[in-house]
Protein backbone atom coordinates (compact mmCIF):
# COMPACT_ATOMS: atom_id res chain seq x y z
CA UNK A 1 0.00 0.00 0.00
CA UNK A 2 1.49 3.40 -0.99
CA UNK A 3 2.42 5.60 2.00
CA UNK A 4 -0.25 8.20 1.21
CA UNK A 5 -2.98 5.56 1.13
CA UNK A 6 -1.63 4.14 4.34
CA UNK A 7 -1.90 7.51 6.04
CA UNK A 8 -5.36 8.15 4.59
CA UNK A 9 -6.39 4.86 6.11
CA UNK A 10 -4.83 5.86 9.42
CA UNK A 11 -6.65 9.21 9.27
CA UNK A 12 -9.90 7.40 8.51
CA UNK A 13 -9.39 5.13 11.53
CA UNK A 14 -8.61 8.16 13.69
CA UNK A 15 -11.76 9.98 12.56
CA UNK A 16 -13.90 7.07 13.71
CA UNK A 17 -12.43 7.37 17.22
CA UNK A 18 -13.49 11.02 17.49
CA UNK A 19 -16.97 12.00 18.63
CA UNK A 20 -17.43 14.66 15.95
CA UNK A 21 -16.49 12.38 13.05
CA UNK A 22 -17.32 8.89 14.35
CA UNK A 23 -20.15 8.55 11.83
CA UNK A 24 -17.85 8.79 8.79
CA UNK A 25 -17.20 5.54 6.93
CA UNK A 26 -13.87 4.55 5.44
CA UNK A 27 -15.40 4.75 1.95
CA UNK A 28 -16.59 8.30 2.55
CA UNK A 29 -13.14 9.35 3.69
CA UNK A 30 -11.18 7.80 0.82
CA UNK A 31 -13.58 9.20 -1.76
CA UNK A 32 -13.49 12.76 -0.41
CA UNK A 33 -10.99 15.39 -1.52
CA UNK A 34 -11.68 18.17 0.98
CA UNK A 35 -12.64 18.29 4.64
CA UNK A 36 -15.73 20.29 3.65
CA UNK A 37 -16.98 17.27 1.73
CA UNK A 38 -16.78 15.34 4.99
CA UNK A 39 -18.58 18.10 6.89
CA UNK A 40 -15.54 18.89 9.04
CA UNK A 41 -15.73 22.55 10.10
CA UNK A 42 -12.65 24.64 10.81
CA UNK A 43 -13.32 24.39 14.56
CA UNK A 44 -13.60 20.62 14.29
CA UNK A 45 -10.41 20.48 12.23
CA UNK A 46 -8.60 22.33 15.00
CA UNK A 47 -9.99 19.88 17.56
CA UNK A 48 -9.01 16.88 15.42
CA UNK A 49 -5.48 18.14 14.99
CA UNK A 50 -5.05 18.92 18.69
CA UNK A 51 -6.49 15.52 19.64
CA UNK A 52 -4.23 13.74 17.14
CA UNK A 53 -1.16 15.43 18.62
CA UNK A 54 -2.31 14.54 22.12
CA UNK A 55 -3.04 10.90 21.32
CA UNK A 56 -0.33 10.11 18.76
CA UNK A 57 2.49 12.45 19.75
CA UNK A 58 2.11 12.62 23.52
CA UNK A 59 1.14 16.30 23.16
CA UNK A 60 4.79 17.08 22.45
CA UNK A 61 4.57 18.45 18.90
CA UNK A 62 3.83 22.12 18.22
CA UNK A 63 1.84 23.18 15.20
CA UNK A 64 3.87 24.76 12.43
CA UNK A 65 2.69 27.91 10.68
CA UNK A 66 3.33 26.32 7.25
CA UNK A 67 0.81 23.55 7.96
CA UNK A 68 -2.15 25.96 7.92
CA UNK A 69 -2.46 26.12 4.13
CA UNK A 70 -2.68 22.31 4.00
CA UNK A 71 -5.67 21.86 6.28
CA UNK A 72 -8.40 22.22 3.68
CA UNK A 73 -7.84 19.14 1.51
CA UNK A 74 -7.33 15.58 2.66
CA UNK A 75 -4.00 15.18 0.91
CA UNK A 76 -2.66 18.14 2.84
CA UNK A 77 -4.15 16.99 6.14
CA UNK A 78 -2.62 13.55 5.71
CA UNK A 79 0.78 15.12 4.95
CA UNK A 80 0.52 17.10 8.19
CA UNK A 81 -0.27 13.96 10.20
CA UNK A 82 2.75 12.28 8.64
CA UNK A 83 4.95 15.18 9.73
CA UNK A 84 3.52 15.08 13.24
CA UNK A 85 4.39 11.38 13.48
CA UNK A 86 7.90 12.01 12.15
CA UNK A 87 8.51 14.85 14.61
CA UNK A 88 7.19 12.73 17.44
CA UNK A 89 9.55 9.90 16.49
CA UNK A 90 12.50 12.28 16.26
CA UNK A 91 11.74 13.72 19.69
CA UNK A 92 11.37 10.27 21.20
CA UNK A 93 14.77 9.23 19.87
CA UNK A 94 16.66 12.26 21.22
Amino acid sequence: MPETDEYLSKFSDFLRTQQMTSHLTHEEVVQAHTREELGISSLNMIMLLMNYIKEHANDSVSLKPEWVSRLNDLEGIVSVLREIDQLSLEQAST
Binding site: S42, N44, M47, M50, L63, K64, P65
Partner: protein, 308 residues
Protein backbone atom coordinates in the same frame (compact mmCIF):
# COMPACT_ATOMS: atom_id res chain seq x y z
CA UNK B 1 4.58 51.20 13.18
CA UNK B 2 7.07 52.25 15.86
CA UNK B 3 6.99 55.53 17.72
CA UNK B 4 9.15 57.21 20.36
CA UNK B 5 7.25 56.29 23.50
CA UNK B 6 10.33 56.01 25.72
CA UNK B 7 9.17 58.47 28.37
CA UNK B 8 5.58 57.18 28.50
CA UNK B 9 4.77 54.45 31.01
CA UNK B 10 1.82 52.07 31.19
CA UNK B 11 0.38 51.36 34.61
CA UNK B 12 -1.08 50.97 37.07
CA UNK B 13 -3.64 48.53 35.67
CA UNK B 14 -6.99 47.58 37.23
CA UNK B 15 -9.88 45.19 36.60
CA UNK B 16 -13.49 45.58 37.75
CA UNK B 17 -15.23 42.30 37.04
CA UNK B 18 -18.96 41.72 37.11
CA UNK B 19 -19.85 41.07 40.75
CA UNK B 20 -21.85 37.88 40.15
CA UNK B 21 -19.66 34.79 39.76
CA UNK B 22 -21.61 32.19 37.80
CA UNK B 23 -21.10 28.78 36.26
CA UNK B 24 -21.90 27.99 32.62
CA UNK B 25 -24.66 25.63 33.81
CA UNK B 26 -26.40 28.65 35.40
CA UNK B 27 -27.30 29.83 31.88
CA UNK B 28 -30.76 28.53 30.95
CA UNK B 29 -30.58 25.81 28.28
CA UNK B 30 -26.80 26.06 28.27
CA UNK B 31 -26.23 22.62 26.71
CA UNK B 32 -28.63 23.39 23.86
CA UNK B 33 -27.05 26.79 23.28
CA UNK B 34 -23.57 25.27 23.24
CA UNK B 35 -24.57 22.49 20.86
CA UNK B 36 -26.19 25.04 18.54
CA UNK B 37 -22.91 26.97 18.40
CA UNK B 38 -20.43 24.10 18.53
CA UNK B 39 -22.03 20.82 17.54
CA UNK B 40 -20.04 17.72 18.53
CA UNK B 41 -17.39 19.70 20.40
CA UNK B 42 -17.24 19.24 24.17
CA UNK B 43 -17.63 22.37 26.28
CA UNK B 44 -15.33 20.83 28.90
CA UNK B 45 -12.40 21.49 26.55
CA UNK B 46 -13.15 25.23 26.68
CA UNK B 47 -11.09 25.65 29.84
CA UNK B 48 -13.65 28.00 31.41
CA UNK B 49 -15.18 27.10 34.78
CA UNK B 50 -16.93 30.36 35.65
CA UNK B 51 -17.76 33.78 34.29
CA UNK B 52 -18.92 37.15 35.63
CA UNK B 53 -22.13 39.10 35.27
CA UNK B 54 -22.75 42.70 36.29
CA UNK B 55 -25.76 43.07 38.60
CA UNK B 56 -25.80 46.85 38.19
CA UNK B 57 -25.23 49.38 35.41
CA UNK B 58 -21.84 49.31 33.67
CA UNK B 59 -21.15 52.87 34.90
CA UNK B 60 -20.75 51.50 38.45
CA UNK B 61 -17.90 49.25 37.33
CA UNK B 62 -16.30 51.96 35.21
CA UNK B 63 -16.22 54.29 38.23
CA UNK B 64 -14.81 51.51 40.44
CA UNK B 65 -12.05 50.90 37.91
CA UNK B 66 -11.24 54.61 37.51
CA UNK B 67 -11.09 55.15 41.28
CA UNK B 68 -8.75 52.21 41.75
CA UNK B 69 -6.50 53.41 38.94
CA UNK B 70 -6.30 56.95 40.36
CA UNK B 71 -5.73 55.73 43.93
CA UNK B 72 -2.79 53.60 42.84
CA UNK B 73 -1.46 56.20 40.43
CA UNK B 74 -1.58 58.80 43.17
CA UNK B 75 -3.01 61.52 40.96
CA UNK B 76 -6.18 63.56 41.53
CA UNK B 77 -9.01 63.06 39.06
CA UNK B 78 -8.55 66.62 37.85
CA UNK B 79 -5.06 65.75 36.58
CA UNK B 80 -6.33 63.28 33.97
CA UNK B 81 -6.14 64.91 30.54
CA UNK B 82 -7.93 62.26 28.47
CA UNK B 83 -10.04 59.16 29.03
CA UNK B 84 -10.47 56.65 26.20
CA UNK B 85 -13.20 54.04 26.26
CA UNK B 86 -12.58 50.94 24.15
CA UNK B 87 -15.51 48.63 23.54
CA UNK B 88 -16.89 46.07 21.11
CA UNK B 89 -19.33 47.17 18.44
CA UNK B 90 -22.31 45.47 20.13
CA UNK B 91 -21.76 47.43 23.36
CA UNK B 92 -22.09 50.83 21.71
CA UNK B 93 -25.87 50.67 21.80
CA UNK B 94 -25.88 50.09 25.57
CA UNK B 95 -23.79 53.13 26.44
CA UNK B 96 -26.19 55.84 25.37
CA UNK B 97 -25.46 59.36 24.22
CA UNK B 98 -24.72 60.77 27.72
CA UNK B 99 -22.42 57.98 28.83
CA UNK B 100 -19.19 59.98 28.75
CA UNK B 101 -20.72 62.99 30.53
CA UNK B 102 -22.12 60.76 33.29
CA UNK B 103 -18.71 59.16 33.85
CA UNK B 104 -16.81 62.45 33.78
CA UNK B 105 -19.20 63.98 36.30
CA UNK B 106 -19.35 60.98 38.65
CA UNK B 107 -15.56 60.43 38.58
CA UNK B 108 -14.84 64.16 39.00
CA UNK B 109 -12.78 64.17 35.80
CA UNK B 110 -13.05 67.93 35.40
CA UNK B 111 -10.25 68.53 32.90
CA UNK B 112 -10.60 65.43 30.79
CA UNK B 113 -11.34 64.92 27.09
CA UNK B 114 -13.39 61.74 26.46
CA UNK B 115 -13.06 59.49 23.40
CA UNK B 116 -14.66 56.20 22.43
CA UNK B 117 -12.79 53.77 20.23
CA UNK B 118 -14.69 50.90 18.65
CA UNK B 119 -15.60 49.10 15.38
CA UNK B 120 -12.56 46.83 15.81
CA UNK B 121 -14.37 44.39 18.12
CA UNK B 122 -12.01 43.04 20.80
CA UNK B 123 -9.05 44.68 19.06
CA UNK B 124 -10.33 48.18 19.90
CA UNK B 125 -8.43 48.23 23.20
CA UNK B 126 -5.04 47.93 21.50
CA UNK B 127 -6.00 50.69 19.10
CA UNK B 128 -6.97 52.73 22.18
CA UNK B 129 -3.59 52.07 23.77
CA UNK B 130 -1.86 53.34 20.65
CA UNK B 131 -4.15 56.37 20.49
CA UNK B 132 -3.39 57.14 24.15
CA UNK B 133 0.36 57.10 23.56
CA UNK B 134 0.04 59.27 20.47
CA UNK B 135 -1.77 61.92 22.56
CA UNK B 136 1.57 62.62 24.27
CA UNK B 137 2.74 64.37 21.12
CA UNK B 138 1.01 67.30 22.85
CA UNK B 139 3.53 68.36 25.50
CA UNK B 140 0.73 69.51 27.80
CA UNK B 141 -0.61 65.97 28.12
CA UNK B 142 0.71 64.10 31.17
CA UNK B 143 -1.91 61.55 32.23
CA UNK B 144 -4.35 59.48 30.14
CA UNK B 145 -6.72 56.72 31.28
CA UNK B 146 -7.58 53.87 28.90
CA UNK B 147 -10.66 51.84 29.83
CA UNK B 148 -12.03 48.69 28.21
CA UNK B 149 -15.64 47.75 28.82
CA UNK B 150 -17.59 44.82 27.52
CA UNK B 151 -20.98 43.68 28.73
CA UNK B 152 -23.42 41.08 27.41
CA UNK B 153 -26.93 41.81 28.78
CA UNK B 154 -28.63 38.62 27.49
CA UNK B 155 -27.40 35.26 28.75
CA UNK B 156 -28.08 33.44 25.51
CA UNK B 157 -25.77 35.87 23.70
CA UNK B 158 -22.89 34.80 25.94
CA UNK B 159 -22.50 31.35 24.40
CA UNK B 160 -20.49 31.34 21.18
CA UNK B 161 -18.56 28.64 19.37
CA UNK B 162 -15.19 30.04 20.39
CA UNK B 163 -15.99 31.84 23.62
CA UNK B 164 -18.12 32.30 26.71
CA UNK B 165 -18.71 36.03 27.11
CA UNK B 166 -18.23 37.60 30.54
CA UNK B 167 -18.65 41.16 31.90
CA UNK B 168 -15.70 43.32 32.93
CA UNK B 169 -14.19 46.78 32.84
CA UNK B 170 -10.41 47.02 32.80
CA UNK B 171 -8.08 49.96 32.55
CA UNK B 172 -4.63 51.40 32.75
CA UNK B 173 -3.04 54.78 33.29
CA UNK B 174 -0.70 56.01 30.58
CA UNK B 175 1.53 58.76 31.87
CA UNK B 176 4.54 60.85 30.99
CA UNK B 177 7.46 60.05 33.25
CA UNK B 178 5.31 57.72 35.38
CA UNK B 179 6.46 54.64 37.25
CA UNK B 180 4.26 52.08 35.49
CA UNK B 181 5.82 48.65 34.91
CA UNK B 182 5.68 48.79 31.12
CA UNK B 183 6.15 51.03 28.14
CA UNK B 184 4.77 50.64 24.65
CA UNK B 185 7.16 49.91 21.80
CA UNK B 186 4.75 49.53 18.89
CA UNK B 187 1.26 48.37 17.92
CA UNK B 188 -0.38 47.00 14.81
CA UNK B 189 -3.87 46.05 13.76
CA UNK B 190 -4.71 44.11 10.62
CA UNK B 191 -8.06 43.49 9.03
CA UNK B 192 -9.15 40.12 7.64
CA UNK B 193 -11.84 41.19 5.20
CA UNK B 194 -13.10 37.65 4.68
CA UNK B 195 -13.46 37.37 8.45
CA UNK B 196 -15.55 40.54 8.57
CA UNK B 197 -17.93 38.90 6.13
CA UNK B 198 -18.00 35.62 8.06
CA UNK B 199 -15.97 33.81 5.40
CA UNK B 200 -12.62 33.63 7.18
CA UNK B 201 -10.37 30.63 6.82
CA UNK B 202 -7.30 29.27 8.57
CA UNK B 203 -5.21 31.05 5.99
CA UNK B 204 -6.92 34.46 6.14
CA UNK B 205 -6.68 34.50 9.95
CA UNK B 206 -3.05 33.46 9.83
CA UNK B 207 -2.21 36.12 7.24
CA UNK B 208 -3.88 38.86 9.31
CA UNK B 209 -1.93 37.79 12.40
CA UNK B 210 1.42 37.35 10.69
CA UNK B 211 1.04 40.72 8.97
CA UNK B 212 0.45 42.39 12.33
CA UNK B 213 3.46 40.62 13.86
CA UNK B 214 5.66 41.77 11.00
CA UNK B 215 4.59 45.36 11.55
CA UNK B 216 4.94 45.32 15.31
CA UNK B 217 8.45 43.82 15.32
CA UNK B 218 9.74 45.83 12.37
CA UNK B 219 12.29 48.41 13.56
CA UNK B 220 11.80 47.31 17.18
CA UNK B 221 15.05 45.36 17.47
CA UNK B 222 13.04 42.55 19.06
CA UNK B 223 11.76 39.24 17.74
CA UNK B 224 8.82 37.00 18.60
CA UNK B 225 10.99 34.20 19.96
CA UNK B 226 12.45 36.60 22.52
CA UNK B 227 9.09 37.65 23.95
CA UNK B 228 8.72 36.52 27.57
CA UNK B 229 4.92 36.25 27.62
CA UNK B 230 2.05 36.75 25.21
CA UNK B 231 -1.31 37.89 26.63
CA UNK B 232 -3.96 36.73 24.12
CA UNK B 233 -7.74 36.92 23.81
CA UNK B 234 -9.36 34.26 26.02
CA UNK B 235 -11.13 32.06 23.51
CA UNK B 236 -11.93 28.35 23.53
CA UNK B 237 -8.64 26.90 24.80
CA UNK B 238 -7.76 24.73 21.75
CA UNK B 239 -8.56 27.65 19.43
CA UNK B 240 -6.37 30.01 21.45
CA UNK B 241 -3.51 27.51 21.30
CA UNK B 242 -4.07 26.88 17.59
CA UNK B 243 -4.29 30.59 16.71
CA UNK B 244 -1.08 31.25 18.61
CA UNK B 245 1.00 28.38 17.31
CA UNK B 246 0.10 28.95 13.65
CA UNK B 247 1.64 32.39 13.96
CA UNK B 248 4.85 31.13 15.51
CA UNK B 249 4.01 31.77 19.18
CA UNK B 250 5.11 28.84 21.34
CA UNK B 251 2.40 27.58 23.70
CA UNK B 252 4.74 28.14 26.67
CA UNK B 253 4.82 31.84 25.82
CA UNK B 254 1.07 32.18 26.38
CA UNK B 255 -0.43 33.34 29.66
CA UNK B 256 -4.20 32.94 29.65
CA UNK B 257 -5.32 29.60 31.15
CA UNK B 258 -6.05 30.71 34.73
CA UNK B 259 -7.89 33.94 33.82
CA UNK B 260 -9.88 32.05 31.16
CA UNK B 261 -10.88 29.47 33.78
CA UNK B 262 -12.14 32.15 36.18
CA UNK B 263 -13.47 34.93 33.97
CA UNK B 264 -14.21 33.55 30.49
CA UNK B 265 -13.93 36.00 27.61
CA UNK B 266 -14.12 39.63 28.72
CA UNK B 267 -13.90 41.16 25.25
CA UNK B 268 -11.42 44.01 24.96
CA UNK B 269 -10.20 43.45 28.51
CA UNK B 270 -8.72 39.97 28.05
CA UNK B 271 -5.13 41.00 27.40
CA UNK B 272 -5.25 43.41 30.36
CA UNK B 273 -6.69 40.71 32.64
CA UNK B 274 -4.01 38.23 31.57
CA UNK B 275 -1.29 40.85 32.00
CA UNK B 276 -2.52 41.79 35.49
CA UNK B 277 -2.72 38.12 36.47
CA UNK B 278 0.82 37.55 35.26
CA UNK B 279 2.13 40.69 36.96
CA UNK B 280 0.47 39.63 40.24
CA UNK B 281 1.66 36.03 40.18
CA UNK B 282 5.05 36.30 38.47
CA UNK B 283 5.88 39.96 37.95
CA UNK B 284 6.73 42.04 34.90
CA UNK B 285 10.53 42.26 34.70
CA UNK B 286 12.58 45.23 33.60
CA UNK B 287 14.01 44.89 30.11
CA UNK B 288 11.92 41.86 29.16
CA UNK B 289 9.44 42.07 26.31
CA UNK B 290 5.75 41.16 26.35
CA UNK B 291 3.08 41.01 23.68
CA UNK B 292 -0.53 42.06 24.18
CA UNK B 293 -2.61 40.34 21.54
CA UNK B 294 -6.25 40.53 20.51
CA UNK B 295 -8.21 38.66 17.88
CA UNK B 296 -11.79 38.87 16.67
CA UNK B 297 -13.69 37.92 13.53
CA UNK B 298 -12.11 40.18 10.93
CA UNK B 299 -9.32 41.64 13.05
CA UNK B 300 -5.98 40.86 14.64
CA UNK B 301 -4.07 43.34 16.79
CA UNK B 302 -0.95 43.23 18.91
CA UNK B 303 1.11 45.57 21.02
CA UNK B 304 4.77 45.09 21.88
CA UNK B 305 5.56 46.11 25.46
CA UNK B 306 8.80 46.24 27.42
CA UNK B 307 9.29 46.14 31.19
CA UNK B 308 10.59 49.43 32.60
Amino acid sequence: MSAPYDSISLGPFACAFGDLERKPADIADFDALWQAQSADVEFATMGCGSFRTMSGPVETYVLDCVRRLLDEHGAPAGAIDHVIFATSDACLEFLGRDFAVRILEAADLTNCVPTVLSFQQCCSSLAALRYACDLFADEDVSDVVVLTLDVTPRDDDRVRSFALFSDAVTGCVVSRGGSGPLRLVSTAVNVDHEGLLGRDSFLSRQQAAQGAFTKVFRDSGEELAGVTKVFPTNLYRPVTLFNATITGVHRDQLHFAEPLASYGHCGNGDWVINLVDYHTTVGIRSGETYLAQASAPGFFACGLLVGT
